[in-house]
Symmetry: D2
């Protein structure tokens, strides 16, 4: 039996970090050896994560690259935006493998990064080494990566919904619309204010980032363009819904004219084929559609699709848990691929339902 | 001082009927004199409506057209689908004015009714007399109507969002998408089962009626076609969100090529102009967008819009309370117009916020 | 017709202040003429209160006693704790009548105030003039008061539940327990942090202020002692429940030995008699119990009671909307009494249900 | 390596049965081999449990004692009340071990069963063999039991909160009050109607079974009496709170006079000692109190306590997940003891938080 992989979580007290700690406890091949939190420095892990029942002997530390490198073989970066750029170089040099859950290494072009994130990228030379961590699209590159950029939550839902259509060149790439609904945990644990104050958002539904201004837009477009083999521009509108977890993306695309083969059952088969071997993607039977509750706490993405014959448009709907397949679960899936573990290790739990 | 208008509610124990009773109590020109409920026959109004504090002397009766006509000058039909077709003829003959909250008289073509509602229309001769009750579009016809068909909740939100664009012929009518989110009260009070069981839908988001099969589709298309002056086909996807009240419709349309004039501030002015004098429609400042909580309990529709320059697409988002502007409030607004009352009478309450 | 009473709200942007603005708009005898907010100074009322549909011409000002006195006949103080002590003297001197929604003037003994609020009372000479504003207990004194201290939300629910038992000397005063559940709006609009962060409290239930340390404890005891005619000590445990509005107080008391007369129907009659003429208190039929949803948005308190024969204990359960009967509605009820208006003016709206 | 224990779930499509299926998948020593559901007979497990990701090859069967005995070594009975009485005799005769999640075998006296459940007990001869399955109180008897009656959810929370006080004879046994709050999943998956209709209970709080009439009352009393060594009568009031999962029990007891030793820190030590070796009970540090969210999805019970010096009363608050420690998790804990597995096997998952 091999010794377990020593794993660290930088930023353990956020919702992504906490979910990593929860899920890693069920992983047969790793042990959690190092956790950091600027808010809970010096306090036991339980102080940062009130629902955690494992690794209770750990203390939240201030991040220190040398100490991190001493304690870990593998590092998850789950801290604030902009942190990863600064710490990745040292950790890579120390020979560590890394999954970064922030957006720092997701966009290939540092100019696009600067345009959308309003900050200069301080490690542009590493962008080429970073592999985009959407395993269902990019599995082989991930297996040999040392640095994986874990996708955004809305991005994961949107790309998994639309990829088969673009890959098969069945739709007009100028017609793509992504209408995405997100639970509130997606906003993180440290942004306070009226926008996330219980009484203001409970029993309310509202959009945000309307008109193509949300930062997940270029990330969705970059990935879909690669799949389509041509530049793809989308309209993306995220919404906040008063649930804690879950993303439901409803995507629309115009079918291109062709001789038959565009019915719902043909597309069902297309999706089944495209996701053959993708453990965590499930295609709902024609006429059925996913609900976020059915994937809560799991790494699964459920996808349902319909063809609106009257408008010759396909509607594809995907559901994920934003903290699992949209963050921590996918990060562990990437680690599994990078380290040669079973891709599903630690990730087979059923939904916490109801 | 004129005597008050005597008003009846057929189907008072449903959510639409209950909301009528709540709102009518704040109306200066009417008195509630007759209520029916098949579930609570013989019981006091409070048994049917646990939150009601007025008209407590009323008893829920079984509907009887003659008794109804004796007690009322004006009748709201808020019962099950298919009821109105059967009772409207008698009530009209007795000289009563009627707002029907069901779908029975919304579609002008009885064949389309039969196609979507899977039942024959038993009073097709009255369809011509029925006026579609969306006051912001149809005010003048409503003022002289004896029978008003009150619009569907999703329809109200969608049409108010898109009407100015179609009226101004600014968008490609084949590009319209309506992605609509609804609270659970929209499903009514008498459909039981897993679909509306608390533990199944709490903390979950799911679509329904995907692929253009929801019955509000032909109703939206009928109204938009009249505004556009040409046949309009849409893609409409409703979703269920775990809140009690509220509809948020996010609509998408491709702007047609033109010489300037399509920016967000131009459209803001267009919307301001189109809804000049429409008391219950508020256009959010450019860059602002509505939240359903801000209209909960009110008859207001708030509309925000953005132009996605990258895709040349306009995104218009409208928020209403499905039980007020989407049902009972709009029904009272219609009554106000039909009876010569101030259009806003009984409808100026602020949102119950937070 | 008399000119309307000019009313001001100090602290309009909080939840209590916002609810005052909502309810006052339905009041036939007053007009809102002055609003202050330190957060929204210089901004229109709608910026502070996104759901308000009336008094939109008002601008939020910084509080100034002279300007306030110029613009108002009557002032509601709904600002932060400690503000009222400082501004009441000037306003009283200017001849204004005041309802203070804070705790500043609720406790008669300034030492007890200091003990529980950890601050010296700066206007102890006015405590004698302040009348405790629970109309169902204290109506006559309120009618002639110039300064009314509006009760705390938990206090209103607890006292209305227990008062008839203590008044009739039916229970052991050392046995009283108040277990109270509150919606999140009770914590106000300006306290941010994990305690009120959506994702932390959604789908969770937790107590706070356990062991008799919550500041509503001495206030409940002061009022119950006056009713009982002897010192009363209680055990009070508030809990936070993930709803926006509502308080449900479950209270327990041991019945003292007596010759008959302690059955549930006897107590039902006792409560009916005690609250004869109390418009806003409703006693549920024996065997029925209140739900907070049935009073949401209203000034009503619903009370249900049961006798546990096995333990000879009475259980009395009361439900209110913490922002209405627990704050703004009761404040208006007090104003009505102080100004000779109908006690129910502006307060007869039905619940926003469902 | 031993072959895995073959386990069956009778009534898999209810919330208790579904939770058993979820948790058993994480258990190293068992395999799920047989599931029944009268609602989903003949359908795959996923049809019954939309969030399940394991045992997908299983089909829901109609219960048949012979087939059940053929397929299973161990049976969980999670069906409707009254089922267990009828099937337990056959299964015991076939040599199977059983945990019954219903109330059929919880009450030792068949007359008390009949009094509270309004039905005759059809297998009273087996009541003596049934062991009450609260491991923290009854571990040794459970280890040798063939039939374990799994406690009710409110009972588990109440008894774990009060047991140390009664065991140490520190409180007046006539003073005990249990005020318990429950999420909606406790009402099960098959009771439909207004009481569990989303729009009726969302954003509402209400009591039920007030006045000592809830069936968990005799069960709490039976267990507490055994611990106290004398008959104990309680006042128990359950409430429904609009969350899916969770029970928070707030219990009150009068401390008996003694020479010192009743402070919060003394009691903290008492509880620590009493629950020494009880893996799933955690005592919160003095001054801290549990929240249900911190145990959601786990088998843990968190307990916090305070002494109200002013009333000489102790307040003990316990939090559990009603479907785990209150049902399926405790059932597995019982199975672990009955089968000689590690008591925590399959039950160490962290909370699904936030």
């Amino acid at each position: 039996m091999n010794p377990k992989l020593k794993v660290g979580i930088v930023g353990v007290s956020g919702y992504g970090g906490g979910e990593l700690a929860r899920l890693l406890a069920a992983h047969p091949d790793v042990e959690l050896t190092y956790v950091t939190s600027s808010t809970y420095t010096g306090q036991p892990l339980r102080a940062a994560l009130p629902g955690i029942t494992t690794s209770l002997e750990l203390t939240c530390e201030t991040f220190d690259a040398t100490i991190c490198a001493d304690h870990c073989d593998f590092v998850f970066l789950a801290g604030e935006a902009g942190l990863a750029m600064h710490v990745v170089p040292q950790l890579l040099e120390a020979g560590k493998k890394i999954v970064d859950l922030s957006a720092d290494f997701r966009l290939e072009d540092p100019n696009i990064y600067q345009e959308w994130y309003k900050a200069e990228h301080t490690a542009p030379h590493l962008l080429e080494d970073a592999v985009y961590g959407l395993p269902e699209i990019n599995r082989i590159a991930i297996e040999t990566a040392r640095l994986v950029a874990n996708p955004g939550c809305h991005v994961t839902a949107a790309v998994l919904a639309l990829a088969p259509l673009l890959d098969a060149k069945l739709v007009d790439t100028s017609s793509l619309i992504v209408n995405s609904l997100s639970g509130v945990s997606g906003a993180g644990r440290s942004k306070f204010g009226l926008d996330y104050h219980f009484a203001e958002i409970n029993e309310s539904i509202r959009p945000y980032g309307v008109g193509g201004v949300h930062r997940h837009t270029p990330e969705i477009e970059q990935t879909l363009s690669q799949i389509a083999g041509e530049p793809v521009t989308i309209s993306f509108t995220p919404h906040l819904v008063p649930v804690t977890r879950g993303i439901l993306a409803t995507t629309y695309a115009n079918l291109t004219p062709r001789d038959g083969g565009g019915g719902a059952s043909d597309l069902y088969e297309l999706y089944q084929d495209f996701y053959l071997g993708a453990w965590f993607v499930e295609i709902s039977e024609p006429g059925s559609f996913p609900a976020t509750k059915h994937v809560t706490g799991t790494n699964y993405c459920q996808i349902g699709l319909a063809v609106d014959e009257r408008t010759n448009r396909v509607v594809v709907i995907s559901a994920i848990d934003n903290l699992v397949k949209g963050a921590a679960g996918q990060a562990i899936q990437n680690m599994n691929l990078m380290c040669g573990f079973d891709e599903t290790a630690g990730l087979t739990l059923s939904a916490v339902w109801p």
